[in-house]
Symmetry: D2
Subunit: 351 residues, 4 copies
């Protein structure tokens, strides 16, 4: 969208014919279409015009090894979430990113929305006062029936071997978790979670109820469900501070509510004049000209380009390997709590 | 509102002058203005035109003894919630109501809304399929600051001796609990709860996070907060079934959302043509002519008059002593779970 | 609702048996159930406890003669709109009210809503700056089909002899007109109108498109339709001032939007703390406890009781015979303009 | 967004240095950066890889001459609206497009929204029945103050010599007109319009009130204002048919309301499963992942690419020179009506 990236090389399939056909379709020169990512990193490293950034959009179980190889090759990495299948792997990548200094972007798209960034800014600036509590929900209908029987996308996401033990928890629960953590700029301390599946034969959970504590004192609820009929992609958050309540919903992303105590609520829209510098720099159209999901996604890439070029980048505002570690902590602790019948478990405690 | 009740006698204050003045203001004959409710029940029982229904609107700590005396006198009782301060008292009233056959109404106003009744009907009729999960929230801003310092209403509600150990839990948490239980027509099985107070000097909780299980398998979240700035009286519920999701919010009570799987959502309004018999009989104006809180409240009285007269009354659709027992179970178990650090506790288990 | 009026006498039907049965049902003593309104006014005038206020809820064609007789008897009058069938009659009543000093209330219910009163106050206080323009719409579905074939209510409303030549124009167009006039506190100057009927056999219009000028310079649109499928009772208004835009909609009456230039919009709710004195005195429940149509209606009665008692009454804030004259001007000019193909016609000009 | 167009040549400024700098910035080879559009068309026509499509984004007064030259050179043209400054020019371009067969796209962005296309489809399919009436509004706040004093964009748009005699009428009134005409697939027959300016010194109108008749019988209102404080870009339309009412608003473009008679309203979202083939082909993301203004704009380009390639193009669904003629008719008749004090004027009549 912003012409800051160009696709120049890739591994597009593990089936040779699909691989070359995809490369052609995407305009990638045939000599830069590789059968294997290790080969690609090795060969490209020799080229003067070699790849600078690796984008990992494979099934989850491959994220770790590809990201590791890329970081070791000193390449910048853009990776879909979940970053890895285990916390241990996540920590390894985080350390690798730290030691190599290679930039890493975890594409938590929802933090690319200008009003999500603005929410974080308002809270950082004390506009809602100390945060007391919150609620974050992420509801979808897409697993209400059993799409895994017929749909390839659904099938790998619900196959514990390919996607990890976490179903709804890993797929959308982590988005809800990251949204809360990002907006409040707070770290998970404790969690009590129950994971359920609405269909007994399903391999992984499709519903998450969790109570979370951030920073040792901010307690709130997280609810993620992929079996909520009639609901498309409703990720929403309410954060309650001592001075104001703040609300945002992904399905109406150009609006945020600020509700000060004892005053009429304010409908803050995504127009640059209303926003702080960071959020304003994530908008492309004037107020009243709606922006959507693709723009949010593009914002991540655009900000990451600034990071790669070390130009005007604001530290801590893009999801990276640290975010990936936190996401895996959330997943592992949620699973552990669930296995103990919903007991409270704590970050940093041995299981 | 419906001219079905007339105020003919009462105890209006424990200060004599306030008592007689209030009686005069309310048009109650001076000989029927009593200093004491026991005296009132005794004297009125002798009159041919004696009271038929007792309305209890005292501070919480008096509910039990007045209700008990009234039931023993064979009078119908209308009581504000919470019905009692303890579960044991609630059970005693329930048994008394059972043995005397005296009708009892617990004024859970929100179940007087036509669309709440319709939600219950739709679920009973299987319109949303088996219920999988739910979320109920009740948020208010009124205790964000410390009104208990200056405001008499706030003061007694936050005084543990007068209002009971439950603050937000008893005041609005029970409304949220009853709404969920009423709409799903389901009984509490287990609960994990955390009660917090935002101001250390406050005697009782002002925030409730709970995970509830109804009927052994319907798991959901309940969140009640009285320190949510900018929010007036936002009681809302989402119930997720296998076929559809249903949503209702008290601040826009004339609208209910039915979201069938894979179809556009339907905006169901409170017009009699859209409603089942019971809900339709709770409406007073044509569609598009909004009804509100007072109408919901009046509906309870109107339906209870039917019960007293044994005319057209639909069993189980008005909150009674059984509801009161369930409410006290919810409160006591929530407090117990909280005291154990949020552990799961179960109905019917000894503490 | 406020126990300020009691029904003590009446004429309930021109069929004798219906008349006496209705009286009995309504608790009116049989000797005060009259066959004829003139007889009622004469007889009641002799009683010490005679009627003080006459409420006229007859079909439109009787409004004038009953109101005239009541005013001549010096009685206060509450009359449904339209006040009369012709402008000449309206002027006659207005002069009569003036000369007798008898209080007169025209029940334009929508101006009984607290937020409508608050809108008027905000504009009077200059909060939105000079008014530039407006749009008022009143849409209903109820005449989409041909209910006049089967429905008695619909039949008389659509019978030009009983209801007047104006159909939708008189029935709801006048409400929209009065709402705009009331909120802006402005008088009609000119109008260009087109009246249409969607069903050729219908006697009166069911759709009004009009451009109005108030106070010689505030130009806006009025659209009323009774054939808008799926819409219940959507009366809404937008008023554009130099400093802010203000919006209100009858189907969500507890909310008003104030949109200042260059700032986030404010959601003003019907809570007394947000309102000026007049609107605040029209509320009965705390913020977040919705009020509706019946409360708005009751507010008119309650304020009119203040007028009758000459207690705390705010002149010009209740619809009276002057409002009735303006309503009939609107109707007659709209019909005249329509008959001339939508030409502009002006108040005070001979036709 | 879809990689179907590449910028290869251009005239970027009439100031030489700005022109070459812009070309460089945009990645246009220096030999293909021209001082003059006529030269560009001549030189490019000689190149094998010469331009195929001309995009005109100049101030309004240049649209005609550039478009004419491009069409005469047989090039496809993408032109911002208004297409020309006069109806006569529009007719000339229309005839030229007809005779040369060169494809022409007028970028009425709002008809690029999938739900606008779906609205047109539903009406064409008879889903709302015969259209009875409509209301279209386009409100913005941007000219509330006097930005023309300081803002170059505002200055040329409000300079009658550069932008034409129509201010708000031409700038956004035409968008509202085109939206109504597009969705109903209907042609303007008659119009009564009043154009006003809120600031006497302003050269052109900033507010349009019009009553329109389409196809000789569909009468509705159009209101456009650029001085509506607090409103960003609120283009909205209601179309009333005999069977249902349909509503859409640009600020929430992923939702459309279908309100059938006597039934709950349906909230139709922009998910491909809900849409007809044409609208579905204009979506890029799954349901619940909002799309916005840029996607709508890109849809026009993408569909126009199909037209140029004569692949799968659906005739009549993209704005072209015919649309431009209709837009200029609307403008000229509106101005004429206004000059006659709002008299009705008719298409095809001599002034």
């Amino acid at each position: 969208m912003d012409d800051q990236y160009e696709l120049v090389a890739g591994v597009f399939s593990n089936i040779e014919q699909e691989n070359t056909e995809s490369a052609e379709l995407l305009g990638v020169a045939s000599e830069r279409c590789y059968a294997d990512y290790r080969e690609m990193f090795a060969v490209e490293a020799e080229r003067e015009d070699g790849i600078e950034v690796v984008v990992i959009v494979t099934p989850n179980f491959l994220h770790f090894e590809v990201a590791k190889a890329a970081l070791e090759a000193g390449l910048a990495v853009i990776c879909e979430k979940p970053m890895t299948l285990t916390l241990a792997e996540a920590i390894e990548l985080d350390q690798l990113a730290e030691s190599t200094g290679a930039p890493f972007l975890l594409t938590h798209t929802y933090s690319g929305y200008p009003l999500v960034q603005e929410a974080r800014q308002l809270i950082a600036d004390g506009e809602i006062g100390d945060v007391l509590t919150f609620s974050v929900q992420y509801l979808q209908e897409w697993l209400t029936k059993e799409p895994e029987k017929n749909d390839r996308q659904a099938a790998w996401r619900l196959d514990a071997k390919l996607a990890g033990a976490a179903g709804c928890l890993g797929d959308i629960g982590t988005h809800a978790f990251q949204l809360a953590s990002y907006i409040m700029d707070a770290d998970l301390t404790s969690i009590s979670a129950n994971l359920t599946r609405s269909i007994p034969s399903r391999q992984v959970d499709d519903n998450v109820h969790a109570t979370l504590v951030f920073n040792d004192h901010i307690r709130g609820h997280l609810w993620a469900s992929q079996t909520a009929p009639g609901i498309e992609n409703n990720l929403n958050i309410k954060v309650v501070g001592r001075k104001a309540t703040l609300e945002w919903s992904q399905e109406e992303p150009n609006v945020m509510w600020l509700r000060p105590y004892g005053e009429p609520s304010k409908r803050i829209t995504r127009r640059a004049e209303f926003l702080g510098e960071y959020a304003a720099s994530s908008t492309r159209t004037p107020g009243g000209h709606p922006e959507g999901y693709l723009e949010a996604f593009a914002n991540l890439y655009s900000k990451f380009a600034e990071k790669i070029r070390k130009q005007g980048f604001k530290k801590g505002w893009l999801a990276d390997t640290r975010t990936g570690v936190q996401g895996m902590q959330f997943i592992e602790l949620a699973i552990e709590s669930d296995q103990r019948g919903g007991e409270w478990v704590h970050v940093g405690e041995d299981a």
